[in-house]
Amino acid sequence: MAEPGALRAYRALLGAQARSQASYRTSFAVDLVGNMGATVFDVMTVLVLFGVTRELGGFTLRETLVIVGLSSFAFATADLLVGNIERLPRYVRTGLFDAVLVRPLAALPQLLLMDLPLRKVSRAVFGLAVLVFALASAGIGWTPGRVALALVAPPAAVVFFAAVFVTTATVSFYWIDSGELANSVTYGGRDFTSYPVTVYGGWFRALFAYGMGFAFVSYHPALALLGRPDPLGLPAWVGWASPGVALVAAAVAALAWRVGIRHYRSTGS
């Protein structure tokens, strides 16, 4: 995949996307603003909730904003990079996926570059702004270790969400009409990671936080950055585990994708 010919082909795909999307200027501008709106409302919702309460699950607004910032930056960036894999069911149904498979390039990068939604850049930038603002205003006692974590945790969270997008999309190799099912994990995961894990309870928390690993996206890194012990009793080093968890998630996604492709049988359309 690293051969220069393939790289040039991928770059050509990306260039074609950029040109085609930017050619309708007004639509593109409308899309940029609209896409940012979704993330703006997510952050606004948190502010509204803190309008009627002092603390959420034992966390103040400033502390919660670190969690929100990590979550919305990571989700928006992963959505920009690989979120369009959500269209896989449509590609499978319409038979476009067959065309992708017969080309002499890897299927996944082709799919992503064929439809890179540049309009989503605005959300990722807004997410980054929230994250930077939150980190600056949370009163973090910066140490070299925490600076390193602040630099590593957001990309790790991006990788994690990207893995979730790819893994859930592979369901459509088996069940064509699975769009909304994938949403419950991807968008559910986004909402889950926007709040301290202490907010949730019972098996639901166990499933999302540790069964699927969403606690490592924003909650545990935020605890480590803020220097707070975990109210749920996990040791402090767990906050540093997010890159490792992200790698495991990426490995699972790669495996699921490979198995899925092997299982794929054309719909014949």
């Binding site: 309708y24 007004t26 639509s27 409308v30 899309d31 603003v33 609209g34 896409n35 709106g37 979704a38 409302f41 606004m44 919702t45 509204v48 909730l49 309008g51 009627v52 309460t53 603390e55 959420l56 699950g57 069940w175 009409d177 699975s178 769009g179 909304e180 099912l181 949403n183 419950s184 994990v185 559910g188 909402d191 889950f192 709040y195 907010v199 949730y200 309870g201 019972g202 639901f204």
Partner: protein, 283 residues
């Protein structure tokens, strides 16, 4: 089914009966059409349930130790969330572009030839769809929620019928809003702008992300009287959890009636203006 053509004798039964029969037949076909997408309905129920858990836990955390917030106690928040997750699919805020698509492709011309007014026929289809959704999409979350969270059961006998009426009005108001958003396609080449605005505004202003009572009371009141959004979701849910005394609830449902009439009239007006424009263009 009683449509008038050159080869069929004009019907002799009263017009109103005929209108209702046509309306009923279109609604029934809307019901059947959506009843065929069973996989999608199951997937939708799973998603609504996951979001039910998320929102329920978050709102309960907002209520905190005190146990009440903005006039809702914990059980009322539970009912608000789970009934809200079910209603979301019944009123179908998002994802309806049928009309805009038909306008763009020109297929709308076929709709205009039919003897039933487009607003009427699309409304009938939508009511049929909502009928199926209230079985397949409203019931599951309402049944699942109480297994995991305390929920509030209405105490007043009149609440349930009033809730039913309020939901019906929500469906009509939501349909009219979506129709108007779609109808911008008559004038604009690209309806994505209005569509995005609607998608963003409707969720947050209808009371889906948080009960509007969490906002300062003057903001809540402004939204309620100046915009149709609270009439989509917030009003039927407040009626169901009996947040306000009965006379206030009746007034809120009355407000929904007002929005429904106003917006449907606006739909017909917009449709008439659009048809004139189509004729002028020769399209």
């Amino acid at each position: 089914m009683g449509s008038v053509t050159a080869t069929v004798a004009p019907p002799t039964d009263p017009n109103v009966t005929r209108w209702f029969r046509t309306f009923g037949a279109i609604a029934a076909s809307g019901f059947r059409r959506h009843a065929t997408y069973r996989q999608a309905a199951v997937a939708g129920v799973v998603t609504n349930t996951v979001f039910g858990f998320l929102r329920c836990y978050i709102f309960l955390a907002v209520a905190g130790a005190a146990g009440t917030v903005a006039g809702y106690d914990r059980a009322q928040l539970g009912t608000f969330v789970w009934a809200g997750q079910g209603l979301l699919a019944v009123i179908a805020i998002w994802g309806w572009t049928d009309l805009a698509d038909r306008i763009r492709t020109g297929e709308i011309a076929a709709d205009l030839l039919r003897p039933v007014h487009p607003v009427t026929s699309y409304l009938a289809t939508d009511l049929g769809r909502a009928g199926f959704a209230s079985l397949a999409r409203l019931l599951p979350p309402v049944v699942i929620g109480p297994f995991f969270f305390a929920v509030y059961l209405p105490r007043h006998w009149a609440t349930l019928p009033l809730f039913g009426l309020s939901v019906l009005l929500s469906v009509v108001v939501c349909f009219a809003c979506r129709y108007l958003v779609n109808a911008t396609a008559y004038w604009l080449e690209d309806v994505r702008g209005p569509m995005i605005l609607w998608t963003l505004g409707s969720g947050v202003l209808a009371g889906l992300y948080f009960p509007l009572g969490f906002l300062p009371s003057w903001v809540e009141a402004t939204l309620r009287y100046a915009t149709p959004f609270p009439s989509l979701l917030q009003v039927p849910l407040d009626v169901l959890v009996e947040r306000e005394p009965m006379p206030t609830e009746l007034r809120l449902v009355g407000l929904q009636v007002g929005w429904a009439v106003l917006l449907l009239a606006l739909c017909r007006l917009v449709q008439r203006r659009a048809e004139h424009r189509l004729v002028v263009q020769g399209g």
